[in-house]
Symmetry: C2
Subunit: 145 residues, 2 copies
DNA sequence: TATATATTTGTAATCATTACAAAAACGATA
DNA sequence: TATCGTTTTTGTAATGATTACAAATATATA
């Protein structure tokens, strides 16, 4: 699914965000690279196309997108924030071996508890950690040696 | 429930951690202050009792405790890590207004998904954010003015 | 007691993120 | 289209949590 610049521009305008060249490029990267990138990854990719790009712009832009509910920060890592353009409810699994982050479907809607009666819940996050199938396989292979 | 220094010392020894004075004091603070403190909070409290205390020691100690499954880091905040001495399964709610963190019971054990077939899951975290009852009440009160 | 080992301490380094001001781009208006 | 005000981008400096590391101290063992 390739989204045209026109669509991306409209998506920004809908949310009251002026569709500057940099903002469109950041959104385009996020839509096309759904690997939950860090600011560094976004920056290092786009600097090739936009030589004058500043890392500040990436920070400004992702924070703007977050405020407009266009993007969700993922706090599964301790050291750096990752970003997810898919704002629908789902969980995140981080492989402790390769570091990759996987999405998984989970019924977050019905995730409730008596203990939070009287609380207003704005956001729910579900983070799992462990080892992904590929890394498990490699581990097994290594044992044979 | 007051835990004696002897019990705390034994708890450390059980896990193969030498019960130094600083380690016992950190563990004591964690057991008695279950507010999910930051390194700074632990340090600022204990410096009163141990004037020579270094913040490095707090970092060393909490990381040691985490490796020994005596303590769990909570990554619900973006900027700093909090620590939970209660390592049993439960969720964490962070009030976006007062910043307080609340524990809540939730059936994490049965939180599963077809999507993670073949994955080894080592750890599950459930983080909710929103407004706690007290802050909701204050908000309402302020509107009356 | 002497010696080896573990722990603590203090400082320097790291690194992601934010703050801020100057420069550049943009938009509206005449 | 030229001008003026506003928004956005950029680059650098500042911040702040955490880690690295080496010297000092405490502890265990022989």
């Amino acid at each position: 699914m390739v989204e045209s610049v026109k669509n991306l521009s409209e998506k920004l305008s809908e949310r009251g965000i002026r569709p500057s060249y940099q903002r469109i490029k950041v959104l385009e990267y996020l839509v096309q690279n759904r690997c939950h990138p860090t600011v560094d990854q976004i920056f290092n990719h786009l600097i090739k196309e936009i030589p004058t790009l500043s890392k500040s712009t990436i920070y400004n832009t992702v924070n703007l997108f977050i405020e407009s509910d266009l993007l969700k920060p993922i706090g599964i890592e301790d050291n750096e924030v990752r970003y997810d353009i898919d704002t629908s409810d789902h969980g995140h699994f981080k492989c402790e071996s390769c570091g990759k982050i996987f999405d998984f479907a989970i019924d977050i809607e019905n995730l409730t508890t008596e203990d939070l009666k009287g609380f207003r819940i704005n956001d729910k996050s579900v983070y799992f950690k462990g080892i992904c199938p590929e890394c498990l396989k490699n581990k097994k292979d290594n044992k044979k040696i």
